[in-house]
């Protein structure tokens, strides 16, 4: 029932504001000061305000500097003006924002910057009680706007561990929070914190935490497992893991083992605003396919190279120089059709003929498929197929770093996992796998599954990248050779153009759909799955 209400609320809000609904909203322009001892307290207050102000209608949008990890807030702001007719009024200060929106809150809750977890507890309370989240120093400001105290966390959790604090918070608040989603508000720790996604959690009445998935923290892990086990099947974990407690690999492994989806990062902004706009009337995703599903291509005796960028488009190469000069595949965060459709439409609108969209990551959200329970796999992948259909995508990207250490190490799929994908996605052109390089490969009927042969670290000197690729070309001497390359987020396409010029032999950069079609016809690669004897950096929880 709770899931139905959650979905209903999304349906009712998403799509409420089409292009013909000329409306007004407010915008704030933020700086990059997220210091706990500097700009963070005011931003926390404003994030809670944004979540409440955007409950009933999209009223407050934040534009971040281009250097912010999510660099699309500026272009998306212009998109709302241009395509949705939103007339924005600028709010220059927190005072102005409170003057306009303080009425969205019923009071305030005080958190203690000296006890970091109280910020998350306060955000949970904010969603449930319609409270603004303040530090003691900001109390006079909100009281000036007529707000009264609802709760005060000062002193309540002094000297307690995070496990103790969140255990208490679970007892007090969890039952009233949505169980269709949960907010893992981790990320940066220490002097800088960046809870840019908090508006979304406040709006949707989520439980906030930054519990550890690291087995070295058994109490926190046990509590998180309890929470995950009580979420509705297929629920979404928003946010990101704590950089100070565990790893991305551990957390994604854990949530995948409960059949949950990850949607990050912790600093992804404006979802409380973005979720309330649908695609503009008449808009339909039409991907730039270069080859028909049933086509048969014949590979020549050369090296075929395809570039792919994942990491979500919004933090990627998209706005960097040179896009459009080379065929490039972009892994789309498919869930944004629900939470941020305007962003997807913006990307689609600004795509060049060389930009090709693919689905991912592993399913309807970020998850590690080797750990998805067998009984949860079909329903999750049904959702993925539906999203891919909406987005006109024919290729699925898979990633399982559960046994890897960051972007190096074992990123392979078990045969059982590969079998499941082949059974569940009969209509795709094929699959790609990995983040760093991997060695899972297969070809069944006309659908290849190929892993990345190379990962371009943006810090690696370009001459070394060229030499690396030339070495792969020299060692894989049979032609055609299918060289799939993953481009890490902050690379730029111009530098890739220069790298391609340095490659030896007949080399052709082709769109990913052409690449897979060629690979389907001439299998010069071996079939391989994860070998149980291969080293695993992290062996999982079971």
């Amino acid at each position: 029932m709770r899931r139905f209400i959650f979905l209903l609320s999304l349906v009712l809000t998403t799509g409420a504001w089409g292009a013909d609904s000329v409306r007004s909203a407010f915008v704030m322009r933020w700086n990059l000061d997220w210091q706990v001892a500097g700009g963070l307290p005011e931003k926390v207050l404003l994030l809670s305000l944004q979540g409440l102000a955007n409950r009933a209608a999209p009223q407050l949008y934040i534009v971040h500097p281009p250097e912010y990890q999510w660099e699309i807030t500026g272009p998306l702001f212009s998109f709302y003006e241009r395509k949705h007719g939103v007339k924005f009024t600028e709010l220059a200060t927190t005072e102005e924002a409170l003057t306009r929106f303080a009425g969205s809150g019923k009071g305030y809750v005080v958190w203690d910057p000296a006890v970091a977890a109280t910020m998350n507890v306060a955000f949970t309370i904010a969603g449930l009680e319609d409270a603004l989240v303040v530090t003691p120093a900001l109390i006079p400001l909100v009281e000036k706007h007529g707000l009264k105290p609802i709760d005060d966390l000062r002193g309540r959790y002094n000297g307690q561990t995070d496990a103790q604090i969140y255990t208490d918070a679970v007892a007090r608040y969890w039952a009233r929070c949505t169980h269709d989603a949960i907010m893992l508000l981790g990320g940066h720790v220490g002097a800088v914190r960046m809870p840019g996604m908090a508006d979304w959690g406040v709006r949707q009445k989520m439980f906030f935490h930054d519990l550890s998935a690291n087995p070295r923290h058994p109490e926190e892990l046990a509590l998180e497992q309890k929470l995950f086990s009580q979420l509705t099947p297929g629920a979404t974990v928003f946010g990101w893991h704590s950089y100070g407690k565990d790893t991305e690999e551990q957390h994604t492994t854990l949530l995948s083992s409960y059949g949950l989806k990850m949607e990050g990062l912790h600093n992804l902004p404006n979802l409380s605003f973005n979720c309330q706009f649908s695609f503009t009337p008449g808009f339909k995703f039409t991907n730039t396919h270069h080859v028909a599903r049933a086509a048969q291509l014949t590979a020549e005796a050369k090296v075929y190279l395809a570039f792919v960028q994942s990491d979500s488009i919004g933090i990627g190469v998209w706005t960097k120089p040179g896009r459009g000069k080379l065929p490039f595949a972009w892994q789309v965060t498919m869930n944004w059709t629900k939470f941020s459709p305007a962003a997807l439409e913006y990307f689609h609108e600004s795509a060049t003929p060389n930009d090709y969209f693919i689905g991912g990551l592993s399913g309807p959200g970020y998850m590690y498929p080797n750990h998805i329970p067998a009984d949860r796999f079909p329903l999750l992948m049904k959702e993925a197929r539906e999203l891919m259909a909406v987005l006109d995508e024919h290729i699925l990207e898979i990633m399982d770093n559960s046994a890897a250490d960051g972007n190096a190490g074992n990123a392979d799929l078990t045969k059982e996992t590969v079998d499941r994908y082949y059974a569940t996605f009969p209509d795709v052109l094929g699959f790609i796998n990995g983040y760093g390089p991997a060695r899972t490969r297969d070809l069944r009927d006309t659908r290849p599954l190929l892993s990345y042969e190379y990962y371009i670290d943006p810090r690696r000197p370009r001459a070394e990248v060229s030499a690396d690729l030339n070495e792969l070309i020299a060692l894989n001497a049979t032609r055609p050779y299918f060289l799939l390359v993953h481009v890490r987020e902050s690379n730029d396409v111009n530098s890739l153009v220069e790298i391609v010029k340095q490659l030896d032999g007949p080399v052709e950069v082709v769109p990913l759909d052409v690449f897979l079609k060629l690979a389907a016809r001439n299998k010069t690669y071996t079939t391989r799955y994860q070998d149980p004897a291969d080293p695993k950096h992290f062996k999982g929880y079971r």
Binding site: R439, R441, E453, A467, D468, N470, L472, N476, F482, A533
Partner: protein, 176 residues
Amino acid sequence: MTHRFRRLLFVLLVITGLPAQAEPASLLAGRWRLDPARSTALDGWTAWDLVIAVDGSRVSLRHDMQWRATKRSVTNTVDTAAPSVVPDFFRVEQRHMALYPAKGGTTAVRAAWLDAGRTLRVEADTPIEISQGQATLRLYLEYRLVEGDGSLVLIELHRTRPQPLVYRFTRVIEAK
């Protein structure tokens, strides 16, 4: 020491040649730490200590590697007196390339002292797993003691790579 005795000692040294070779070779022994700023960029490793030990004609090359939380310590032992076959030969690979040591593979290794024992040359033909199956990577490595004996340069050539990999190490003086 008389003049006659000095001459006799000199003749003996020239005849045997032992001190002239053994002394520099032993200078390579010890722990050497990669100086990333003066080396070819490593990919997929953040730290590398090379620990060299010499025992007669056998030279052990231990690699203490680190990447984030991953630590590996692997030793290749080579013989300067005769070619050898080394199981699980360790290669400091660029870890973002899909090249892997072939499972169960053995590597033919030849090693020799050069430059009066100031350079160790290692040649290896090592089997690697590639996406098309298996290939042999032919490696040529020179471990060169640099003037002053406080630095070591490793020059690595691959048959399949158009440019050398050059790593510079600094001697680590370990506390006793």
